[in-house]
């Protein structure tokens, strides 16, 4: 018995039932900007740790990274942001942290390949951009959105298994009682 428990503990430290390991997932943001704000502001993404400024086109996905601390900045339409990091420029403009928890990796067996989170710009006041998440779409390896029928199928399979085990247990008890 002790050996079996020890074996169970040993097995507990290693993956089972599914291939071990993780794979990378591309997580992108889409910015939705109302017309009145779009007329007054342009938006840029820049990392706090690293270089490079990306102009954000509303409704088009752009990459962000929690690791490099990507933040979103707003500037007047006529302004041109620096191509590389420029602290003076950044401190004088409205900014927001994306209100999104980045999905960077998933188990290797997961069908997920890409996540697209849509945020809307609610307001720009006092040097702060207020963003709100309004939607998230998850895509599979084929580039198509993942459907919830996979989850329903798994629920149905588990239910069949549970009911079957219940029937087996009940039959065995009836046989024992009889």
């Amino acid at each position: 018995m002790i050996r079996l428990v020890a074996l169970a503990c040993l097995l507990a430290g290693t993956p089972d039932i599914l291939p071990p390991g993780h794979k990378g997932v591309k997580h992108e943001l889409v910015l939705h900007v109302e017309e009145d704000l779009a007329a007054k502001w342009r938006f840029f993404a820049a990392p706090t740790a690293g270089f490079g400024v990306t102009a954000i086109e509303p409704e088009k996905p752009f990459s962000f990274s929690a690791k490099y601390g990507t933040r979103i900045w707003a500037a007047a339409p006529e302004e041109k942001p620096p191509e590389r990091g420029d602290d003076d420029w950044f401190t004088g403009h409205p900014v927001a942290n994306p209100p999104v928890r980045e999905v960077s990796s998933v188990p290797i067996s997961s069908p997920l390949a890409r996540v697209e989170t849509t945020c809307v710009v609610r307001s720009i006041e006092g040097g702060k951009i207020t963003l709100e998440v309004i939607g998230e779409t998850r895509f599979g390896e084929d580039g198509e959105p993942l459907n919830s029928y996979v989850v329903y199928m798994m629920i149905i399979i588990a239910t069949i298994g549970g009911i079957g085990l219940g029937v087996l247990t009940a039959r065995r008890r009836m046989q024992q009682a009889g």
Binding site: L7, A12, P15, D16, V106, V150, I157, I160, G161, L168
Partner: protein, 104 residues
């Protein structure tokens, strides 16, 4: 979806012979039936939890315990034998999973 069904089918196909071999002779049929139903119960739940970020370290002991309980209560084998079946069956799928990852 097809990849998930493939994993489920592979798990059942690997665990059935092991469960059959480790089961006591007089209980083999019920152990095999229990092995199929147990995997139908635990595999999708464990997979869904794993996809949502739960680590194997947490899931694996639970899977073994649930399978052990299933073999004991549904197939009527002793606790020790139930644990042996659960451990051996999972050991085979562990090895297969590692091989699959190594080949990929």
């Amino acid at each position: 979806m097809s990849f998930y069904l493939l994993l489920l089918a592979a798990t059942i196909a690997l665990e059935l012979p092991v469960a059959h071999a480790v089961a006591p002779r007089e209980r083999r049929r019920s152990v095999v039936a229990t092995a199929i139903l147990t995997n139908l119960l635990t595999h999708p739940i464990a997979t869904a939890l794993h996809w949502s970020g739960q680590p194997f370290l947490l899931l694996e002991p639970l899977v073994i315990l649930v399978e052990c309980a299933c073999y004991h209560f549904a197939a009527g084998v002793s606790e020790n034998r139930a644990l042996a079946i659960a451990c051996c069956a999972n050991a085979v799928t562990i090895a297969a999973a590692w091989m699959l990852t190594g080949l990929a």
